[in-house]
Amino acid sequence: MTAPMLDKRMSAGEIVSQLRDGMTLGIGGWGPRRKPMALVREILRSDLKDLTVVSYGGADVGMLCAASKVKKLAFAFVSLDAIPLEPWFRKAREAGEIEVFEMDEGMFQWGLKAAAFGLPFLPTRVGLGTDLAELGGLKTVQSPYDDGEVLIAMPALKLDAAIIHVSRSDWRGNVQLLGPDTYYDEWFAKAAARTYVSCEELVDKIEDHYPQDVKANTFERCFVSGVVEMTGGAHPSSMPPAYGWDMKAFKEYAAAAKDPGDWSAVADRFVGTDEAVYLEGFGGKEAVAALPLPIF
């Protein structure tokens, strides 16, 4: 019997090389918050294509759509908050370029939970009375008990892989997710066959460094297949408490979508040839670290 490979460190390139065309890829975070943008950028630098993307969408979805990496999108919204309508996503939708599976935000996490628990579906009232069931081909299920209630059967959102940006990790994949809200990152991790995390800070043994923050370990290392340190890796999205979103960068990105809105002309700026070059374009890691946290 061989011991499991506990040293999960790999490069961003190695992580992306483990993804395949046509995969279903879950992306953690929420809108313009906590997005694993460095790994998204690495995908954008690769030949990967025909992805089914499952995301509480922000610029991750917009960029992957703009670069024609997306075959199908499972979503409840795509938004940059202060810029409510994600412009590149909008362009792709209005051009009819992508298939979609649209869900309610709560159904979405329910589908991740079904996948995490290996169930074909989980029942819910959500979606009744709306167009979601018809548009998404959702089926109903009847309670076998006396109440006989008819419910929507939310199918499992099984992910071939998930990418998540976390605050800290050690080389074994003991992660810590700081900040006021970690959204559904833990369920992306559990819904996926393989989960890859980028982190703001990589340490050797987390118990030697941050034992006081152990409650921030929102999912366990058995759900982590690969780890890479990417300081500033959520930019331009926010990564509290380390840094806020870069609204200036988002505005520039949104403006670039206006006519003619040619992604190839601006991909250098928003993706770059590598991560160091990309960050340098926005003032470097120091400038990212200095971005103020948003107020709501």
Binding site: W30, G57, F75, A76, F77, V78, S79, P84, L85, F89, R90, R93, E94, A95, G96, E99, V100, E102, M103, D104, E105, G106, M107, Q109, W110, T124, R125, V126, G127, L128, G129, T130, D131, L132, L135, T140, Q142, G148, E149, V150, L151, P180, D181, T182, Y183, Y184, E186, I295, F296
Partner: protein, 269 residues
């Protein structure tokens, strides 16, 4: 009528109307999306409805509503924790523990709303908007109201909304055995009037007109027939309410909500 009251803006009158829509004796989360609903929720919390719970807009519950915009010296004091990561578990799917007030792009006579897409097909919409967000779950589980800053036929559509994002009282959208008992549409506050769903089969009624507005003007701006149940003019906020509103919105963000920020009482023609 005092001089102070005469100086209230239409946005402030709407804030008071939103606050009335939130009135409750229950302990429940009040979510006002956008400046007018949010200030309205805060006003309700600080005046007639102390059971209301609200967040700082991000993840923490506060007992003192957080003012809009840059906070200066104001430090929110956190009394509880309600992040998105447990919002459905606590506030939505438990049923009856929240009242949300939102601004959808379209509303129809059944109270169905749309904020996902306009025109075209689902595969290729003419205009892509936000997506349904949490509207399907909100509508099937808890109270919902709406604020519309520019009452028009583009919002209050003829026929049905292009994409039903939130459930309403449309019998054709109900399947046998489904539980629709949680659908609880309350008020629609607009720049012209206040409406509710108190008509036969939850038909939409006009219950108060803002000063100087006629029922014909409201009907003219609406794509479906409204019931006239007007009993009064929408009340103007008094000095106490205006003081609370100013405290909740120190940067006067409310002045940018309704076009030209008109006074609550229209100038004589």
């Amino acid at each position: 009528m005092s001089d102070v009251t005469n100086q209230a803006t239409l946005a402030e009158l709407c804030i008071l109307a939103c606050s009335e829509a939130f009135r409750t004796s229950a302990e429940q989360v009040a979510t006002g999306i956008g400046p007018v609903p949010r200030i309205g929720a805060g006003l309700a919390r600080l005046t007639h409805s102390p059971g209301l719970m609200m967040t700082d807009g991000e993840a923490f519950l506060v007992e003192e509503p957080v003012p809009l915009g840059p906070r200066g010296d104001h430090q929110p004091r956190f009394a509880g924790y309600l992040p998105f990561s447990r919002f459905f578990d606590s506030a939505v799917w438990t049923g009856g523990r929240r009242h949300a007030m939102v601004t959808p792009t379209q509303i129809d006579r059944f109270g169905q709303t749309n904020l996902s897409q306009l025109g075209g097909t689902h595969r290729q919409p003419k205009t892509q908007m936000l997506g349904v967000r949490g509207f399907p779950g909100n509508s099937i589980y808890h109270a919902n109201s709406m604020f519309i800053p520019a009452h028009s036929k583009r919002v209050f559509v003829e026929g049905e909304v292009d994409m039903v994002s939130s459930a309403g009282y449309n019998p054709a959208k109900r399947i046998a055995g489904g539980n629709y008992s949680g659908i609880d549409l309350r008020a629609i506050v607009t720049n012209l009037c206040v409406m509710d769903f108190g008509g036969p089969d939850n038909a939409i009624r006009v219950v108060s007109l803002h000063p100087g507005v006629t029922i014909d003007e409201v009907q003219e701006a609406t794509g479906f027939a409204l019931l006239d149940a007007v009993e009064r003019e929408t009340p103007l906020p008094g000095k106490d309410a205006l003081d609370v509103i100013a405290r909740l919105d120190p940067h006067n963000i409310r002045a940018s909500v309704i076009r030209d920020n008109p006074p609550a009482v229209r100038a004589a023609p």
